[in-house]
């Protein structure tokens, strides 16, 4: 007959094992609730009012702030611009940092120096990056235009042309963040078990086949992280655009966050419409993140 095991009765002191971890989490949770959750919910409330900075009383206006967005051409422009920036900035970020990481992982000469050099732009502030590129691309005094002119090429005014302003900002952004994602990819590459690569080589897999069949699937979790983080950041782009073009020329680079800033913190300080746009952005980021999780959810296992 099997011997039954009787569990000891839970003593009064055992409740501490349950409660104490939450007490440790408490400080963070308090700050999270106060500075994240509360503003989020209060913003939702403001979005259905006619709140304006300096106006003591507010009235509920229902979904008027949201419906007004449908006929606001600048809001629509800012949404398109933000989506365009996100798409144009994400595609290079998927490939360029990975390529650099793969090259560095192969043990090239001056690897440490190159890694630092590629990472260095990420250490600069957004304002610094924006100013550097604004000067580089200045049509009158910028070196890029100057030297191109010297070889007979007369480029458009990069930041003054509606066709080239956004690509210029994308270029500055990709230059700034490539090093950061490269380091993440590099760490992930170094985490891949060598036995798998050796096994693939024994099976006759070449460099590309080994990368595509072994390395790339194992990098999917990292790529998911990179893509999600980058897209969340790209959808909230503000600083670099504000420094380089302030949303111009002719609203060609006006981002959604910048438009929220203009409506909520400039002019009449209309907080209601600004909060409504903020919630639209929040929902968009949330949906995009969910979609990405679903697309990347299958992980390679060996």
């Amino acid at each position: 007959m099997a011997k039954s095991i009787s569990l000891p009765r839970r003593s009064a002191l055992d409740w501490k094992a349950v409660v104490v971890p939450y007490l440790y989490l408490g400080p963070f949770l308090v700050l999270f609730l106060v500075f994240r959750v509360y503003p989020l919910l209060y913003g939702l409330y403001i979005s259905v009012t006619n709140a304006q900075l300096g106006r003591m009383s507010t009235a509920i206006v229902g979904f008027q702030n949201y419906s007004a967005l449908l006929s606001d051409p600048r809001f629509q422009t800012s949404v398109v611009n933000t989506a365009t920036f996100t798409l144009e900035a994400t595609i290079p970020v998927l490939g360029v940092p990975l390529l650099l990481a793969v090259v560095l992982n192969r043990g090239v000469a001056l690897r440490t120096l190159l890694r630092s050099a590629f990472f260095f732009p990420f250490t600069l502030s957004v304002v610094t990056v924006g100013l550097i590129w604004a000067w580089l691309l200045d049509p009158l005094v910028g070196p890029i235009t100057f030297y191109l002119n010297r070889v007979g090429i007369f480029p458009p005014p990069w930041l003054g042309d509606t066709h080239t302003a956004m690509p210029a900002i994308v270029l500055a952004t990709v230059w700034s963040v490539t090093g950061y994602y490269m380091v993440i990819y590099l760490a992930a590459l170094q985490d891949i078990p060598q036995q798998l690569l050796e096994a693939a080589a024994l099976d006759g897999a070449g460099g590309w086949q080994s990368f595509w069949s072994v390395t790339f699937p194992l990098l999917r979790p990292v790529m998911l992280f990179v893509v999600i983080i980058h897209i969340i950041g790209a959808l909230q782009v503000f600083g670099i655009i504000f420094v380089m073009t302030k949303g111009g020329p002719a609203d060609a680079t006006l981002s959604l966050v910048q438009y929220i800033y203009l409506i909520g913190f400039q002019g009449s300080f209309r907080l209601g419409p600004a909060a409504a746009m903020s919630w639209v952005l929040f929902v968009a980021i949330f949906v995009v993140s969910l979609i990405q999780f679903r697309v990347f959810r299958d992980q390679a296992e060996y």
Partner: protein, 480 residues
């Protein structure tokens, strides 16, 4: 066997309880710090107002120092020899002790010292202390908007004319007593009509104009000389109308340089000046809707597309016009009087000329600095009296402020002062005063200006047909 660590030693080790206690103390401290009241405005200037505030008018720092009698001279005016003797001021009546007035303004950069010196003089004469905080106009507007409803507004604030209707509508600033205005000796006849009306909203006065910035035409002397466009006196031949403006700009556009720029591609301020020149405005006279879709405004927009999109005589968007002018890449530039300081510092040879009349009437864009009294929780008669004394002091010392601070006083009686009358740059500014125009008295003005900039930028670049763009713009502004 005793372990090396005694029970007493273990009790001194850092345990989970210690960590928990420390965390709770840190959170409590943070909560207490967050709940503490905000400090009163400090007596020292915080930030200077030298940079621009996007979407708020004006778009660049409204300071100027017309120190040069000619463009190539860098001689400063005789700062210590203002011909107007500061008027004696008496201490505010009914005050049991010294009065201290908190004062928010955006007078920074090179104008900060002259302004502070005047405040010190005011203190010496009246015993009233000015406790000023200098900040960018965007920050000032938002702080005032937040502070007034909760009794955290300063005793005085220096606002722009176009902001008066907005703050008046919100109840942020006080109505000024007409009787007190009369008693102070400030007369309508001493002001240009546009400036006198600047402090009015819905028939009530909310401010008194202290000084005015305006547009002017800047000419690069060496570029004009190289192009052979100088008169017998060797000075640049300034264009005076639309035909001569466009012709001169085209002649000066060569070798990678640009002939002329009217403000900037998205410069709504100087665009407004052209609307006024053509007898129209942003809103209808009753302020009920925008008239930018009317022929007069479309005519202005059609001109706006000519210099760059059609003639390539203006620089493209994204060019720093001030730097281009100083670098000798831009020959003519219509922009604010505050640029004089920078041009003098750069030692560039330049001439200031009146703004050309491109359309029907010689209107010039201008904007005033308005002295206001924000709303307070409790009325203080001593501070009200002190406010009027400061207003009168700044009027009486308008010549000093103009010469030393480089900002043209609003009270035009000082324009006859010899130091002002003989300065060629100040003479241009004072001669233009009769043609000053200001924005319409509506709380929607700032929001309308924010919409105008991107649209005229598109017209400038040739991306949008002027008529269609203006019609769309008028709809957006009318919907405000």
């Amino acid at each position: 066997m005793r372990y090396p660590h005694s029970a007493a030693a273990v009790s001194h080790a850092f345990t989970r309880r210690h960590f928990l206690a420390g965390g709770l103390v840190a959170v409590a401290g943070a909560a207490l710090a967050a709940c503490s009241s905000t400090s009163a405005p400090s007596s020292s200037p915080t930030t200077s107002a030298a940079t621009s505030a996007p979407a708020a008018a004006p778009t660049t720092a409204p300071t100027a120092a017309p120190a040069a009698t000619t463009a190539s001279s860098s001689a400063a005016p005789a700062a210590a020899t203002a011909t107007t003797a500061p008027a004696a001021q008496s201490a505010p009546s009914g005050s049991g002790g010294a009065v201290t007035m908190t004062f928010w303004n955006d007078i920074g950069a090179t104008n900060a010292k002259p302004y502070t010196d005047l405040q010190s003089l005011f203190n010496k004469q009246t015993g009233i202390k000015i406790d000023q905080q200098v900040m960018q106009i965007g920050n000032l507007n938002s702080k005032l908007q937040m502070g007034a409803p909760i009794g955290q507004a300063p005793d005085m604030a220096l606002l722009y004319t176009t902001a008066i209707p907005h703050f008046a509508d919100l109840g942020t600033i006080q109505v000024l007593d007409p009787a007190a205005l009369d008693q102070s000796g400030i007369k309508e006849s001493d002001y240009v009509p546009a400036t006198w009306q600047g402090g009015m909203y819905k028939g009530k006065r909310y401010s008194v104009t202290q000084d005015v910035v305006q547009s002017a035409l800047y000419l690069n002397d060496s570029m004009f000389k190289d192009a052979g466009l100088t008169g017998s006196d060797g000075k640049p031949q300034a264009p005076t109308d639309q035909t001569s403006w466009l012709e001169t700009a085209q002649k000066l556009t060569k070798n990678g340089n640009y002939g002329g720029l009217w403000g900037g591609s998205s410069d709504n301020l100087n665009f407004e000046g052209l609307l006024w020149q053509n007898g129209t405005n942003v809103f209808s006279e009753d302020l009920s809707k925008s008239v930018l879709d009317q022929p007069a405004a479309i005519e202005v927009a059609t001109f706006w597309a000519k210099p760059y999109a059609q003639l390539k005589a203006s620089p493209p968007d994204g060019v720093d016009a001030e730097k281009a002018f100083v670098a000798g890449k831009l020959a003519m530039w219509v922009n604010g009087s505050w640029n004089v300081t920078g041009f003098n510092d750069s030692k560039i040879a330049y001439t200031v000329a009146p703004v050309p009349t491109l359309f029907k009437t010689p209107k010039v864009w201008s904007l005033g600095h308005e002295l206001t009294m924000p709303m307070q929780k409790n009325k203080d008669d001593a501070k009200v009296a002190a406010f009027w004394k400061f207003v009168k002091f700044m009027i009486d010392n308008g010549a000093t402020w103009t010469v030393q601070g480089g900002v043209l006083a609003a009270n035009n009686t000082v324009y006859k002062d010899p130091q002002i009358a003989k300065d060629p740059i100040l003479k241009v500014f004072t001669d233009q005063s009769k043609n000053w125009g200001v924005g319409q008295s509506t709380p929607k003005w700032s929001d309308a200006e924010a919409l105008i900039g991107p649209v005229i930028d598109g017209i400038y670049l040739g991306k949008q047909p002027p008529a269609d763009a203006m019609k769309s713009l008028a709809q957006q502004i009318s919907a405000l």
